[in-house]
């Protein structure tokens, strides 16, 4: 692969990626979330997303010949196979049927010669043979007649791999976090079978967050950060710590605010044994105390549960645990319970949760406050009924449009029509309008440009300083947390892995993220 470039909507995600892979080699690909790993793999596998967003730049050479991958068919033809993180299996099909899905050996009949190949009958016997053969190669026993939906999760993963292996042309196999959902034992088997596959001459790209696995089975490792390959090295010439360092990146020279010492202040919110059932972001046994007036950062890799914390406390996902605010318990299954206590939440899912995309900015900014605090209502008919007060709503909206510099045509514009950064500002305005005493902010800078990022962070910092509002900010960008937070807690596997002052060196946070225990 040479000089691969890719941009989404003008935002460059990958710059000049160069990678090399030879037969029978296992290469580990590591990088933080959003570093560009998935995009790179999608290019290799010819995912629809790539073509529909304008294709990619650069060249891919396979066996010395230039390859043009425009669709997953091309990828298949070039012998590239991929096992995704989410299972792409048909639940009601057997292992055999899934392994050979859409590549079933068929028998011709008179009908099919008239109406096309799709009326060929399936050759069940041959299917079984091929499937069994592939399963053998993976090196684990799977019942080939078992329906995928009744399989344990590990077997599903193996079925996927078997499917890729059964492709005759397979030369390169991409495994995206194959061990993430497996038990330790299964993971071991998996690694063994991966090695086994490599010894048959298949080149493997192995993506994982578990660095020890990478150290275990890979020949080489490539680290990607911000769309650039920062390091490629043979595995025996690099240590886990070094990899971590490359992943997290250099110390960025940005203005850090001086962290305040908060330990002595009153505990404003105490979270004990929080469990949140949020798909992909499960929180288990999370406990932390938040001090009055601080900005607490919560960081961690994706999927480790950091997002689940605010969502659980605010009642958007099923959660269990004790959360008390100013020594009063909060009913975490009922959003109103926290909202009534002046706790606000800016969701990471702007378009899904944060906004009424088809309504005006006025509605978006005023709705929360109206529902929670009965504001922006005017009494009519001698207090019998109360209507929306359009004047007040306009006033507050205009205020925040100015204060946060939201670029829009008017306060009546629909939220859908704004850019990502401005939408995020609307979300903040929505929370600010409620005049919260405590604010959860989740991924406030995700997917917005640099200028807007700075503005959003400044707004948060300013709000904290001006009103003494306690802020808990969840973000995957450790640098961003270090810019404005007093303390940063790293979440790993749904629990607190450690809490440090924001000024601690970045490597310490990096180590926590990948599972090292806090010193």
């Amino acid at each position: 692969m040479k000089n691969i470039k890719k941009s989404y909507y003008g935002t460059a995600v990958l710059h000049d990626i160069n990678m090399e892979l030879s037969e029978g080699e296992i290469i580990g690909l590591v990088g933080e979330n959003g570093a560009g790993k998935s995009t790179l793999m999608n290019i290799l596998f010819g995912d629809e997303v790539i073509a529909s967003t304008g294709g990619y730049e650069g060249d891919i050479f396979i066996n010395g010949e230039k390859a043009q991958i425009n669709s997953s068919f091309d990828a298949l033809n070039y012998g590239i196979g991929m096992v995704h993180q989410e299972f792409s299996l048909i639940p009601g099909f057997t292992a055999t049927e899934n392994i050979l899905f859409n590549r079933e050996p068929t028998k011709k009949s008179l009908v099919s010669s008239a109406f096309g190949d799709r009326l060929d009958t399936l050759d069940r016997k041959k299917m079984k043979e091929i499937a069994d053969d592939a399963i053998d190669k993976v090196g684990i026993k799977i019942d080939d007649d078992m329906l995928v939906q009744s399989m344990p999760v590990g077997h599903k993963q193996f079925t996927e791999i078997a499917r890729e292996i059964s492709k005759e042309k397979l030369k390169v196999l991409i495994l995206d976090e194959p061990t993430a959902v497996l038990t330790e034992k299964e993971a071991e088997t998996m690694l063994k079978s991966i090695k086994n596959l490599a010894s048959r001459g298949i080149a493997i790209i192995f993506i994982s967050h578990r660095l020890n696995e990478i150290m275990d089975i890979c020949n080489k490792v490539t680290v990607i950060r911000d769309g650039v390959v920062v390091k490629t090295s043979d595995i025996d010439k690099i240590t886990v710590d070094e990899i971590t360092k490359y992943m997290i990146g250099r110390e960025v020279d940005t203005k850090h605010r001086e962290p305040r010492n908060v330990e002595g202040k009153d505990v404003i919110m105490s979270i004990k044994n929080l469990y949140v059932d949020m798909p992909g972001e499960n929180v288990r046994d999370f406990s932390i105390d938040v001090y009055d007036g601080e900005i607490l950062g919560i960081g961690g890799l994706a999927g480790q549960g950091k997002l689940g914390i605010p969502n659980g406390i605010m009642g958007l996902y099923d959660a269990e645990g004790d959360v008390s605010y100013k020594n009063e318990k909060i009913n975490i299954s009922e959003p109103m319970s926290s909202l009534k206590k002046d706790i606000a939440f800016v969701s990471e899912d702007r378009r899904g949760v944060g906004l009424l995309l088809d309504e005006s900015l006025e509605w978006n900014i005023s709705f929360l406050t109206m529902q929670v605090k009965d504001k922006f209502l005017k009494k009519i008919l001698g207090k019998l009924m109360s209507f929306r007060s359009n004047e007040e709503i306009k006033e507050v909206t205009d205020h925040y449009i100015e204060a946060l510099n939201i670029k829009c045509t008017s306060s009546k514009q629909k939220a859908r029509e704004l850019s990502g950064g401005n939408q995020q500002k609307v979300c903040l305005a929505k929370a600010f309008a409620m005049q919260p005493k405590f604010l959860f902010v989740s991924e406030p800078t995700r997917g917005i440009d640099v200028g807007a990022k700075a503005l959003v962070l400044d707004a948060l910092k300013g709000y904290n300083e001006k009103y003494g509002t306690t802020i808990v900010m969840v973000s995957s960008e450790i640098e961003e947390l270090r810019q404005i937070c007093d303390r940063i807690a790293i979440v790993s596997d749904g629990k607190v892995a450690g809490i440090y002052k924001a000024t601690e060196p970045v490597e310490k946070f990096g180590a926590l993220m990948i599972g090292a225990k806090a010193a």
Partner: protein, 155 residues
């Protein structure tokens, strides 16, 4: 491969179309009326027999005395008619069969059996049956259009 498949498809369509025409040919239904009436054959009067029994596919469909008219339906282009003819009262019974080609254009065909039995020219013993004008009720039928149809199901 593609061409072959296309060829098969064309053949299939041709077969279906051919079948259509075949069905139209062999499935054309006629109501046949048998007249046992005296008629003029080649210029001479032929008296109708005393009694004619008409059989279609083995079933007796008409038992005609002199001057009677019987009726049967026939599917296909050529009607096969079996008859048992009794010339005079108490006389011998005689079995005869005929294959009568039926004209496509007529729905109802009147066959004069006397003409048929005496080798009269085809168009002298075959004629179209014209139903009496507007047998069907003249008053307009009300068509009730109901989005949900009526609820009664077949009984």
């Amino acid at each position: 491969m593609k061409n072959k498949s296309l060829l098969y498809k064309i053949i299939l369509v041709v077969i279906l179309v051919a079948m259509c025409f075949l069905m139209i040919y062999i499935g054309r239904g006629h109501t046949i009326y048998f007249d046992n009436k005296t008629m003029e054959v080649n210029g001479r009067e032929v008296e109708a027999p005393y009694k004619v029994k008409v059989y279609i596919k083995g079933n007796e469909v008409a038992d005609l005395s002199n001057g009677d008219r019987g009726m049967a339906i026939w599917i296909g282009p050529k009607a096969h008619i079996d008859m048992q003819v009794t010339k005079v009262k108490g006389g011998d019974k005689e079995n005869i069969s005929y294959d009568v080609p039926l004209p496509r254009a007529y729905d109802g065909v009147v066959i004069n059996l006397v003409g048929l039995m005496n080798d009269a020219p085809y168009d002298t013993y075959i004629s179209e049956f014209v139903p009496l004008a507007t047998v069907t009720s003249a008053e307009d039928e009300e068509v009730v259009l109901d989005e949900f149809g009526d609820m009664s199901f077949d009984e």
